[in-house]
């Protein structure tokens, strides 16, 4: 896995929507190729906004954001995103929804079929392949969305609370699958979650964010070797890291709570 | 004028196609043409005439002016106005000596002259020349309702007055039990023809076809009015299965009663005739009431050279054939 070329770079970025209050302020971030960066912080602190800036869906107010040295919008073909909502097209079946990004890239039908089937079985939805979104449960929708994002093997993956609607086992299973995928086809990830242990299990860098305005309060480096095995979760070093992050988070939120 | 090459009138040569545009759906007011068609008068002149039925917005003059039809028929005023607006057209013969437009009213509420319209409500075509004539000449003003095409309001209201064709609407109103009467709009003062006309180019290129068409058409009209109209009517009925048989008789009778087609012999009017003096008068009238925004010369709106000899006043063709 090559490293060290910064793929995402924020240079003292601030962001406000319209003429509202500052949502992000003084954000500096440099994500190296191969990093698995996690953003964690209280609800509404601006995590999704950071991802929106990276993907060029919303303009920043001051500072500068680059992705692979380019403006974010120019670098979209390197990225794939799992949004906080499932955002499935209601007129397509689960299978067709998963195929969508490949279709947009002009992949041929056979490849699309095969890859979508593979991804659907990864998220354990083989049986729901022909269901329309309105026939899927909340968690199933989210899993289709995950399958869709993973289907294109991106260079940079943005994940906005992808596993929040899933039960623990499915969640752990998908955590592991994510790492397995990463071992096969390395990608850089920016990950948003509310689960500290998930953050520690998956990432090598965790940013703890504070709110009003959203800012990076602390960075925690997680140095466990890759590939990580499920057993890691049981080890005391792991628990220690989890506790460290939790403590930071409590500090941040303690400020937040009046 | 240029010498006209005589064309074979009969014989083995193929018939020459001529498209003739009428101003309305096929009706007895077009009877002469259908009679000519039915009796083979056109064929006898070497013409294969196609009668293009009109309808609302038939755009007869534009069609002829742009070559989408070769000849057409309409109210004589319309041709004068059209020429004033720049359409390259000329009248070549009169189809009727008087336009058939009239005013229809109930017998319970009679009109004796058009002056009686003053202050009334009348359903009539907005912008019609005759309305302006009444206004300017007689000082008659009335409230105008647009001509929507229905007779229901007439039937429902004994005071209702509307524009009509004297050959047409009164029949149906009477059929339904109304005591419908009609007054011809044309008078000594204001007497538009109904005319056959064609484009200047067509006159220049096919003078002979025009002459033959006029000749055959007038023959058809004469035959239709004085002989047995059955052949022409048979053609018409095929095209208009919706019209009752009696209607044809009524229309015919009206055309006769009002002396529409051949005019009044006492004034030396004859079928097909176009009088230079009457047209001059008409142009002057139109100018006077402000319909023509630029002067028009008689020679721009009419040519007399296609009138058959016997259609000239006194039966004699004048020596000059300048137009």
């Amino acid at each position: 896995m090559e490293a060290n070329a910064p793929i995402v770079k924020f240079h003292s970025v601030a962001k406000r929507y319209g003429d509202g209050a500052l949502v992000l302020d003084g954000i500096d971030l440099s994500v190296e190729t191969g990093d698995f960066v996690t953003l964690i912080g209280p609800s509404g602190c601006g995590k999704s906004t950071v991802l929106k800036l990276v993907s060029g869906l919303s303009p920043w107010t001051t500072g500068e954001v680059t992705v692979a040295g380019q403006a974010p919008r120019q670098a979209r073909d390197r990225q794939s995103c799992i949004f906080q909502d499932a955002t499935l097209l209601p007129w397509l079946t689960a299978q067709a929804n998963v195929e969508l990004p490949m279709r947009l890239r002009g992949e041929n039908t056979a490849v699309r079929r095969a890859r979508a089937a593979e991804m659907l079985s990864l998220v354990r939805l083989n049986d729901a392949r022909d269901f329309y979104p309105r026939q899927l449960s909340g968690g199933m929708k989210m899993r289709v969305s995950i399958a869709r994002a993973l289907s294109v093997a991106p260079e940079l993956l943005l994940l906005d609370e992808p596993f929040g609607a899933l039960d623990e086992m499915t969640r752990n299973h998908l955590n592991e699958e994510l790492l397995a995928l990463r071992a096969r086809a390395p990608f850089t990830a920016i990950f948003v979650t509310h689960s500290v242990s998930e953050a520690v299990f998956l990432s090598n860098r965790i940013f703890v964010m504070a709110a009003r305005p959203g800012r990076f309060q602390a960075e925690v480096r997680v140095e466990f070797p890759c590939p990580r095995r499920p057993e890691l979760r049981e080890q005391p070093e792991f628990q220690a890291k989890v506790n460290e992050v939790s403590r930071l988070l409590h500090q941040v939120e303690g400020v937040e709570v009046r | 004028g240029k010498k006209e090459a005589p064309s074979p009138v009969t014989g083995s040569t193929a018939l020459i196609k001529v498209r003739f545009q009428t101003d309305w759906f096929p009706e007895p007011e077009h009877g002469g043409y259908y009679q000519a068609l039915a009796k083979g008068y056109y064929a006898a002149e070497g013409l294969e005439v196609e009668i293009l039925p009109g309808g609302p917005n038939a755009q007869v003059m534009s069609k002829v002016a742009t070559g989408r039809a070769d000849l057409g028929m309409t109210n004589g005023d319309d041709v004068i106005v059209a020429v004033a607006r720049g359409l390259p057209l000329k009248m070549v013969a009169a189809e009727m000596q008087r336009d058939a437009q009239g005013i229809m009213f109930h017998g319970e509420n009679p009109l004796t002259s058009l002056r009686d319209l003053n202050g009334r409500t009348v359903m009539a075509g907005a912008g019609s020349v005759w309305i302006k004539v009444l206004e300017k000449r007689l000082g008659v003003h009335f409230n105008l309702l647009p001509l929507a095409g229905d007779l229901a309001r007439f039937m429902n209201d004994k005071h209702f007055i509307q524009q009509c064709f004297v050959t047409n609407e009164p029949y149906f109103a009477r059929q339904r039990g109304a005591d419908a009467r009609a007054l011809l709009i044309a008078s000594d003062d204001y007497a538009p023809y109904r005319v056959i006309f064609t484009g200047n180019d067509y006159i220049a290129q096919h003078p002979d076809l025009v002459r033959r068409f006029v000749r055959a058409s007038l023959k058809g009209w004469t035959d239709y009015m004085t002989g047995d109209p059955a052949p022409g009517n048979a053609l018409l009925k095929k095209l208009r299965p919706d019209l009752p048989d009696d209607f044809f008789a009524y229309s015919m009778q009206a055309m006769k009663d009002y002396r529409l087609v051949a005019g009044d012999p006492k004034r030396a009017e004859r079928i097909g005739q176009l009088s230079s003096e009457r047209i001059e008068r008409q142009i002057k009238l139109l100018q006077e009431i402000g319909v023509l925004d630029k002067p028009v010369a008689e020679k721009d709106v009419v040519t007399f050279r296609f009138l058959p000899d016997d259609s000239w006043p006194g039966g004699k063709r004048p020596p000059l054939d300048v137009y």
Partner: protein, 264 residues
């Protein structure tokens, strides 16, 4: 339960129809109106039976004009909206002029239509088209612009081309709007064709259409037959509307919320 519902689908409009007919008779009796203003339903029916041959032939002619005009309006409306939906600049450049086209009274264009398209069928189709085109465009364009912004974000993120965004996202999500527009067009097409016949028609080639009959019955004061003509035109319209409804069902029932609402 499904079955019962289908039966009610027939019974209810029939009951309302009966009420309307009763009202109709009532109006006749109370106002003492004559049958040349408002014939009774029975008279209309009798006239319809009596004139059935003319009516059928005319309905056939009108149907051809209406169908052609409607199809043209649907297709052209679809294409136009896609062009308009594809870029703000195009929308700004063209939409005002489309409005001009829509707002120019057909009556003014009649001479041009007659001369360019020709009287009879071509002119009638043109008029029908002009009348039913804009509702499709207006609706479909609104639909294209109302696409869920999260889905748009998905497409933008996936680096979809404008064309893909339009074709794979905006067009399907605008379908309910398009179909509402098409439904309006379907009701406009037959009256558009009749109006067309009334404006630029000619009786060339037979009986002419229903518009011609309207003229004819109007001058002949055959008012029951006139209403029978209107009835025929409604029936024709229903065929169009039913066609659109079927299409609507086929396209939307699998996924659109108008086809699955929670129980009350």
């Amino acid at each position: 339960m499904k079955r019962a519902s289908a039966i009610w689908g027939w019974i209810l409009p029939v009951v309302t129809g009966a009420m309307i007919i009763a009202l109709w008779y009532g109006v006749r009796v109370v106002t003492g109106m004559q049958s040349w203003i408002l014939p009774t339903p029975l008279e209309v029916l009798q006239a319809a039976v009596h004139e059935r041959q003319l009516l059928l032939a005319a309905a056939g002619n009108t149907a051809v004009g209406a169908l052609l005009g409607f199809t043209l309006a649907g297709v052209a409306g679809w294409v136009t909206s896609i062009v308009l939906g594809s870029s703000l600049s195009l929308r700004r450049s063209l939409y005002p002029w489309l409005l001009v086209l829509q707002m120019t009274p057909v009556i003014v264009l009649t001479p041009i239509i007659v001369l360019w398209a020709g009287a009879g069928l071509p002119g009638i189709v043109t008029v029908t088209f002009l009348i039913s085109y804009f509702p499709v465009v207006a609706n479909m364009t609104q639909g294209l612009l109302s696409t869920d912004r999260n889905l748009v974000a998905l497409f933008r993120m996936s680096n979809a081309s404008r064309f893909q965004e339009l074709l794979l996202l905006r067009v399907p999500s605008a379908l309910p709007y398009f179909l509402a527009g098409l439904r309006i067009a379907a009701t406009l097409a037959p009256i558009g064709a009749i109006f067309g016949e009334y404006m630029v028609g000619s009786s060339a080639g037979g009986t002419g259409g229903l518009g011609f009959l309207v003229y004819s019955y109007n001058t002949q004061i055959k008012i029951p037959a006139l209403f029978a003509t209107a009835l025929t035109s409604c029936l024709l319209g229903f065929i169009f509307v039913a066609g659109v409804a079927l299409f609507n069902w086929a396209v939307l029932h699998k996924w659109h919320d108008s086809y699955e609402q929670p129980d009350r």
